[in-house]
Amino acid sequence: MSEKNTFKVRKSWDTAILALLFSVWVLASFTTDNFLSSINVSQIFSNSSEILIMGFAMIFLIITGEIDLSIASILALSSAMLGWSYAAGAPIWLAILIAMAVGTACGFINGFLVTKLGLGSLAVTIGALALYRGIANGILGTNTINEFPDFWTSFGFDTFGKTFIPQTLPVIILFGLFFGLLLHNTAFGRRTLAIGQSPEAARFAGINVVRHKIIVFTFTGFMSGVAGVIYTFRFSTAQADNGIGLELLVISACLLGGVSIFGGVGTMWGLVAGVLLASSVESWLTLQEINAQWRTIVTGILLLISVAAPVMVDKYKRARATLANKA
């Protein structure tokens, strides 16, 4: 019973998010002068960059029933490696590669510890959260590195010519397409969903659950590394406390986008809608000149609802079903 109902809830959830996104846009464009102005739309997109990039991979992880809380620390570590190796004289392309490689390695280590040692992903990645941020601190201390080649900082910050399209957008779209197709149109994606829906049936279906999860963890590490690079160039800053707390935004955006925290359910466009909704609300509040604390509170409430609502509906249905079973 409960599974079927969850499915129903999910379907209506998708529609609800789209409707919500649409109403926010309509409301915001009526109540403010420049919500749909090109600068603002451009701002909404660039503010979503890292969340989207990490979300593209994180959604796979949550669908398999795992989670990675260390992604923001991986972002910081890769940012620190980028700044440190560039400052130490490495050519920028090598520094970028090192940053992404470090992210990938972190993801692999998380996956290895979770699957091979059978430790829970919550416990492992909370430890990793502290560890990777600690290493970033060890590398940069309280230093910040702000000197990067103009080409790359303008890639992070500017739009194409006079348009409102951020230069990072094509990169994000490419990644989105890649992971979207991977999730919805390949055997790999089908297996990802299957593992989350029933680990036991997945075993009987001949899916190598351990290897699959390690790959997904590694993807997540890699994408956090990429996010670290983008973040560094967007703010022209490599420092150890880059991106603190971002993991919560990514996870919440996934859930807001209809990914089930219990695994097995989720779509890429749901994630994108979830991220855009969060950033649009944030931007709307900014334009209304509502101060930062209130903005954080509103965003927080929105995210809490996204976590709580499906669970509550599900609990209610479950209670009904149990009652029926006890009849």
Partner: protein, 501 residues
């Protein structure tokens, strides 16, 4: 309390649809107190839907229901309990850490002052078990109880709540023969106590052994309501499937070829010891025996989802890696497991998603899955096995039990395996389709596949197998050819371990 023979439940012209799918298009059902009433019909006929309406899980769209002389209050499980309706599901949901007495009285414990009177609860539970004619210790924990015993505890609970009607949806599907016997005794005791029982089953021999009255449904409508004395097996089958069924087991003879599967001295001390046998191309070998005799464990060990300690398995004369379903599938072995909900299917995923699960290679273009091919594959198997569903992306959870089983079969038959292992392949499948499934297995053997079949249904074993290996308590007792095997000598070997009579 109602007298024997009084009309207890009357459902008239009941209709129910789920979205676009019509489950009930006008069903009648009349049940009297002190009656065991069988509700029969093909897979998807609407039997479970009827019971779920009575249980308050679903609400009917139209029609009248009268229960105990008053209009039935629908749509609420609690209201159904209060009206005296109890449901026994195939998989009971006891609290495993509580004692049996606690399970019977959970939420309604007898009290002494403010404290719960456990002595009294235990005494009452013991009395209920006695009435049902079973020996269970009310003090023991529910954990470790067999499914059959758990059902009995659920029934005791129903009695303690003064249920006047007990609904059982395929309660015997997962029980061994002796457990079925005992459940029947319990049902007779319920009848003697003037309770009504609605009994859904695809095992028609059981139905004729125990019921007083039979209602047959087809495509969501009632087609016949008859006392047992006014009908017979052939009539009922004809009413269910709408045509004459002549051959129940259409086994044909095939040339038997090289050895495909060779099992040598396989041992896993917890479940089975020194098991050796072969299965050849075109041959159907059955593992017979009681539930718990180690047959499913052997199948799972060959397929690699379980492990074994010593011995070896060869497939097409090559040693097969231990404990690796991935290798097994690559070597063209398929396993249709015993428990379809947990092991065979992804319940929230669509029918098409489930059927295509093992056939990605054939659905792939260069990189991406081709949805058109997936649709075609699903349609092909829908036709082959006459699977009933409204839309192919419907989650299999919405399919009737028998159609879920067909979906698992379709998934594995689609891989075109060399060795097909089927564990209880027709569990929950109706008579008409059973013959179709047998025909399919027979056809697969005709195409040169090797078939290893585990079945607790003796007629199925005797009808289908070229050779029968009888297991008892994890050991091979004997091997019988199709000619030698009879109902008597298989049962004798499975229960006493003696080789033939």
């Amino acid at each position: 309390m109602a007298n024997k023979g009084d009309l207890l439940l009357e459902m008239k012209d009941v209709k129910k649809r789920f979205g676009g799918a019509i489950a009930l298009r006008g069903t009648n059902l009349s049940v009297r107190a002190g009656e065991i009433h069988a509700l029969l019909g093909e897979n998807g006929a609407g039997k479970s839907t009827m019971l779920k309406i009575l249980a308050g899980v679903h609400e009917h769209d139209a029609g009248t229901i009268t229960f105990g002389g008053a209009p039935f209050i629908s749509g609420s499980p609690q209201a159904s309990i209060d009206q005296g309706i109890a449901v026994i599901y195939q998989e009971p949901s006891l609290f495993l850490d509580l004692s049996l007495a606690e399970n019977v009285f959970v939420g309604r414990q007898p009290k002494k002052g403010l404290a719960i009177d456990w002595k009294e609860a235990e005494a009452q539970a013991r009395k209920l078990f006695n009435e049902l004619g079973v020996e269970l210790d009310p003090k023991r924990q529910a954990r470790g109880l067999s499914i059959a015993d758990q059902q009995v505890v659920e029934i005791a609970k129903a009695l303690s709540m003064n249920a006047s009607i007990i609904l059982m949806d395929e309660p015997t599907a997962a029980l061994s023969a002796s457990e079925v016997e005992r459940l029947m005794t319990v049902m007779r005791n319920l009848r003697a106590a003037n309770k009504a029982v609605i009994f859904v089953s695809h095992r028609l021999d059981e139905v004729f052994a125990i019921s007083d009255f039979i209602t047959v449904m087809r495509d969501g409508a009632t087609v016949s309501e008859k006392a047992i004395s006014n009908t017979d097996l052939q009539t009922v089958i004809k009413e269910m499937v709408g045509r004459e069924l002549t051959e129940l087991f259409p086994k044909t003879d095939h040339p038997i070829g090289d050895v495909v599967l060779e099992v040598n001295d396989l041992t896993n001390p917890a479940y089975f010891r020194n098991v050796s046998f072969t299965v050849r191309k075109g041959e159907i070998v059955a593992l017979a025996g009681l539930v718990g005799s180690g047959r499913s464990e052997i199948a799972r060990s060959i397929f690699g989802v379980d492990s074994y300690e010593t011995g070896s398995v060869k497939i097409n004369n090559k040693p097969l890696k231990k404990n690796s379903p991935i290798t097994a599938i690559a070597e063209k072995i398929a396993l249709v497991p015993e428990d379809r909900r947990q092991q065979g299917l992804f319940m929230v995923a669509g029918v098409n998603r489930n059927i295509s699960m093992e056939s990605f290679d054939r659905l792939k273009g260069r990189i991406f899955l081709n949805f058109k091919k997936e649709r075609a594959l699903t349609n092909q198997w829908r036709e082959n096995l006459s699977i009933k569903y409204a839309d192919q992306s419907d989650p299999v959870d919405r399919l009737s039990g028998g159609n879920q089983q067909k979906t698992v079969l379709a998934k594995w038959l689609a891989t075109d395996p060399d060795l097909l292992i089927v564990d209880e392949p027709t569990r929950g499948i109706d008579v008409g389709t059973k013959a179709e499934v047998h025909k399919l297995i027979d056809k697969a053997a005709g195409e040169g596949k090797a078939i290893l079949m585990i079945s607790s249904e003796l007629p199925e074993v005797l009808g289908m197998a070229d050779r029968i290996i009888v297991m008892r308590e994890g050991r091979q007792v004997t091997e019988l050819s199709r000619k030698e095997a009879t109902q008597e000598n298989v049962i004798a070997a499975a229960t006493t371990g003696k080789k033939g009579i």
